[in-house]
């Protein structure tokens, strides 16, 4: 590769295969090697990501698009080192932080304590976090609910809180997996501004979204995943146009 650009993330032929018992019981995640398959219970393999490779360079912010179930989230989890690729590997200049929709961090604790804990898990000291609780609360727009247990939060409130915790730090590589889709308009604007700020501060942002508008506004490169394959990789306008055409065609 005769390029002088500096790579930040290299994804090398990544496969993710889940082994699942029909009925929903997952067998030890994506890394099971020897699974006994009895005749009665047949193990199903779900090949979520089928050999994806790409290289991301400094200063790129990358949109990830594709239909539901195309392997976007599975790939992002591998990128963040939360799950292991069944085959292949991911290399990165520093550990990416993944922000996804999902459960509350500690459902029985107040939003404020979740801020403290989340920050400390990311490596901040208690002092640092105590000093920044207010700023994070403001950013999340949760002044009125911050003393309530996180289990009482709506999906949107919970996603806002988690984004605010993660965005408090400047990340070299930040992966946002549809987490912002549930936020309201005002919060979307605030978070988008923060993402662009991070990108301009030489950080790399991955944005998984179904909103082509927010992808166009934040990203300068787009990857299109379809059924576990990397279908297309290029500048946002071209890839999004092709994706939209594909969606329209398959609707007819």
């Amino acid at each position: 590769m005769a390029t002088s650009k500096k790579p930040v993330v290299v994804v090398d032929d990544v496969h993710v295969i889940y082994k699942v018992f029909p009925g929903g019981k997952r067998v030890g995640g994506a890394r099971v090697k020897n699974v006994r398959i009895s005749k009665k219970v047949k193990l199903r393999e779900v090949h979520a990501v089928k050999g994806v490779s790409f290289t991301i360079y400094e200063g790129e912010s990358v949109g990830i698009i594709g239909s539901n179930g195309s392997g976007k989230s599975s790939l992002m989890k591998v990128l963040a080192g939360i799950t292991q690729a069944t085959k292949g590997a991911v290399y990165a200049s520093s550990r990416p932080t993944l922000l996804g929709v999902g459960a509350a961090l500690m459902p029985n604790l107040s939003g404020e304590k979740n801020i403290l804990l989340g920050g400390m898990a990311l490596g901040f000291s208690r002092k640092d976090m105590e000093a920044s609780v207010e700023a994070i609360t403001d950013f999340a727009g949760l002044e009125e609910a911050i003393d309530l247990p996180m289990r009482t939060y709506s999906q949107g409130m919970s996603a806002r809180l988690r984004f605010a915790i993660a965005a408090h730090r400047t990340h070299d590589i930040l992966i946002i997996d549809e987490a912002l889709a549930v936020g309201d308009k005002a919060f979307k604007n605030r978070s988008q501004a923060r993402m662009i700020e991070m990108r301009d501060g030489a950080g790399t942002v991955f944005l998984v979204s179904h909103s082509m508008k927010s992808i166009k506004e934040t990203c300068n490169r787009v990857l299109w995943l379809e059924k576990g394959d990397l279908r297309m990789d290029g500048d946002p306008d071209t890839v999004i146009a092709a994706y939209e055409k594909y969606v329209e065609d398959s609707a007819n």
Binding site: Y91, L98, A104, M120, G123
Partner: protein, 279 residues
């Protein structure tokens, strides 16, 4: 690809960090472990009227119940200094059994944290043990009051409790880490934990004098003396309860158990680090 990535200073993601780096990362985030254990306690007692007082009340009521029942059943054959004997046993035992069971569920019950944030997972079993330890401290206060009332003396040997607690912490942390990994990989084990705990409770001589049982069945002696829970409880009694001795053998047994369990636990847990997020 791999060479290209490494030539540009990129590191493989999800790969388990070297043990030393891993422990450094864990140590750096110790605030998190302490905070999580303190908060979990608060949340657990938040809806009760007596709140924090339950931390003292519950184990005291528990020990008193055992005292009442076994004290009556055993009659004259109950050990000397029965209440200090019993309370020391019950409090220490609940520290170990609590560390074991909450350590076992520390990864599986914190799914929200494990799936959303990446941090050294070892912090979770450590936090579980820290929480049990924070609960043990006020119980030791109750024990001190009890000893003052019943034995009417303060002894210099009470100070030996400090090194014993350090050893007990090491042992419990090792136990919690081993249990945490095992439960993640074989969920079914979590069903057996209550039984294991019960069995250990009965063979550790908590409410009866095990020496007396051994008089009639001396062949059991090696098994009884190798039981680390018994060793720790007996050593603590040696420091606190009149009529019990801290023998060199007990010190040796506890030190070996603590070191071996802790080192084994750390390595055993660390080896599977990349797998905990897969759940």
């Amino acid at each position: 690809m791999a060479q290209y990535a490494e030539a540009n200073g990129l590191k493989r993601m999800g790969a388990r960090p070297a043990l030393l780096d891993y422990l450094k990362e864990t140590f750096k985030r110790r605030d998190f472990a302490f905070a999580i254990s303190a908060y979990t306690n608060e949340a657990a007692n938040a809806r009760t009227a007596l709140g924090k007082w339950w931390l003292i009340l519950l184990p005291t009521i528990q020990a008193a119940t055992y005292g009442l029942i076994f004290g009556l059943i055993l009659g004259d054959s109950r050990p000397q200094n029965f209440l200090p004997f019993l309370f020391t046993g019950v409090f220490l035992f609940s520290f170990f059994s609590g560390s074991f069971s909450s350590g076992a569920s520390s990864i599986t019950s914190n799914g929200g944290l494990v799936r959303s944030l990446s941090f050294p997972r070892m912090l979770l079993p450590i936090a579980a043990v820290a929480r049990q330890f924070l609960n043990l401290l006020p119980q030791l206060g109750v024990l001190a009051v009890l000893l003052l009332v019943l034995q009417q003396t303060i002894s210099i040997s009470w100070l030996a409790v400090l090194p014993i607690l350090i050893l007990a912490l090491l042992f419990a942390s090792g136990l919690a880490m081993i249990a945490a990994r095992l439960t993640v990989q074989v969920r079914d084990l979590s069903k057996l934990i209550p039984f294991v705990t019960r069995i250990v409770f009965y063979i550790s001589g908590i409410f009866f004098s095990i020496e007396r049982v051994l008089e009639s069945v001396p062949a059991l002696a090696p098994f009884i003396y190798l039981n680390p829970i018994y060793d720790f409880i007996e050593l603590t009694r040696g420091a606190l309860v009149v009529g019990h001795q801290m023998t060199g053998t007990l010190w040796l047994a506890c030190s070996i158990w603590a070191t071996v369990t802790f080192v084994t636990g750390v390595i055993f847990f660390w080896i599977a680090e990349e797998r905990y997020g897969n759940e």
